[in-house]
C-alpha cells in the first residue's frame, strides 16, 4: 500500500539550477496538490490539479510549474531555484474535491537552495 510517493527525499541545489520534484499516487485519486511547509507558517498551497490535463494555481505559485499528464503523476518543477524556495514540499491527493475528504500526503521532499 504505497499511497503517495515523493522523490527525492532530500536535495541541495545551487541558486539558478532547476529540478523536478516527483509525486505519484496509486489510489486512483483525481485531485492532487502541492504544498510547501515553512517553519511556523503551516502548509501553503502551490498548485493543484482536478484531473489529468487540468492544473490551477494555489496561494503561492510563483517560481513553480506543474503538469498532469496522467492520473497517477503530478510533478512540480522549479526552473530557476532561489533561496526563498528552501522548504519542505509535500504532495497530497484526494479522490474527489469535497473539502471534508482527508488529504493523503507523501513523506515530503526537503529542498535546500544554496
Amino acid at each position: 500500500n504505497a499511497g503517495v510517493t515523493q522523490t527525492p527525499k532530500f536535495r541541495i541545489l545551487k541558486i539558478g539550477q532547476s529540478m523536478t520534484l516527483q509525486c505519484t499516487q496509486d489510489m486512483n485519486h483525481n485531485y492532487m496538490y502541492w504544498y510547501r511547509q515553512d517553519p511556523g507558517m503551516g502548509l501553503k498551497l502551490i498548485y493543484y490539479s482536478v484531473g489529468a490535463g487540468i492544473t490551477d494555481k494555489g496561494e503561492v505559485p510563483n517560481g513553480y510549474n506543474v503538469s498532469r499528464s496522467t492520473t497517477e503523476d503530478f510533478p512540480l518543477r522549479l526552473e530557476l531555484a532561489a533561496p526563498s524556495q528552501t522548504s519542505v514540499y509535500f504532495c497530497a491527493s484526494t479522490f474527489t474535491g469535497m473539502v471534508n475528504q482527508p488529504q493523503h500526503f507523501g513523506d515530503g521532499t526537503r529542498l535546500s537552495i544554496l
Binding site: G40, G42, Q103, G106, D107, G108
Partner: protein
C-alpha cells in the same frame, strides 16, 4: 495574514498530564480537520468536525468545533510519548473549496 492561528506554538509537558491546543480564526469555516505530523513524514488526518458545537472523541483525544465555526480545540487526556508531534488544523473558509492550514502546535511529551 494567517487565516488560522494555532496556540500555543510549542508545548512540552510531562507524560500523564492533560493539555489543550487551540485553532482560532476570525473567519467562518465549513468544517475543520485536525492532522498530526511526525518528523520526516507527511500529515495524517485525525478527525473532521463539521457542525458548530460538535464534539468528537478519538481515544484520549477530544476535538471540539466552536458554535460559530470560527475555532476548534484539541484536548488530550493523560498524554503519552506517542502523542508527540506537530498538530495542524485545516479547513475551507466558507465559500472556498481549498484547505487553509494553521500554523501548527509542536507538542513534546516527556517520559
Amino acid at each position: 495574514t494567517q487565516l488560522l492561528e494555532q496556540s500555543p506554538q510549542f508545548l512540552s509537558i510531562q507524560e500523564g498530564e492533560n493539555l489543550t491546543v487551540y485553532c482560532n480564526s476570525s473567519s467562518v469555516f465549513s468544517s475543520l480537520q485536525w492532522y498530526r505530523q511526525e518528523p520526516g513524514e507527511g500529515p495524517v488526518l485525525l478527525v473532521t468536525v463539521v457542525t458548530g458545537g460538535e464534539v468528537k472523541k478519538l481515544k484520549r483525544l477530544t476535538f471540539q468545533f466552536g458554535d460559530a465555526r470560527k475555532d476548534s480545540s484539541l484536548h488530550i487526556t493523560a498524554a503519552q510519548p506517542g502523542d508527540t508531534g506537530l498538530y495542524l488544523c485545516a479547513g475551507p473558509p466558507f465559500g472556498n473549496e481549498k484547505l487553509t492550514f494553521g500554523t501548527g502546535t509542536r507538542l513534546t511529551i516527556i517520559p
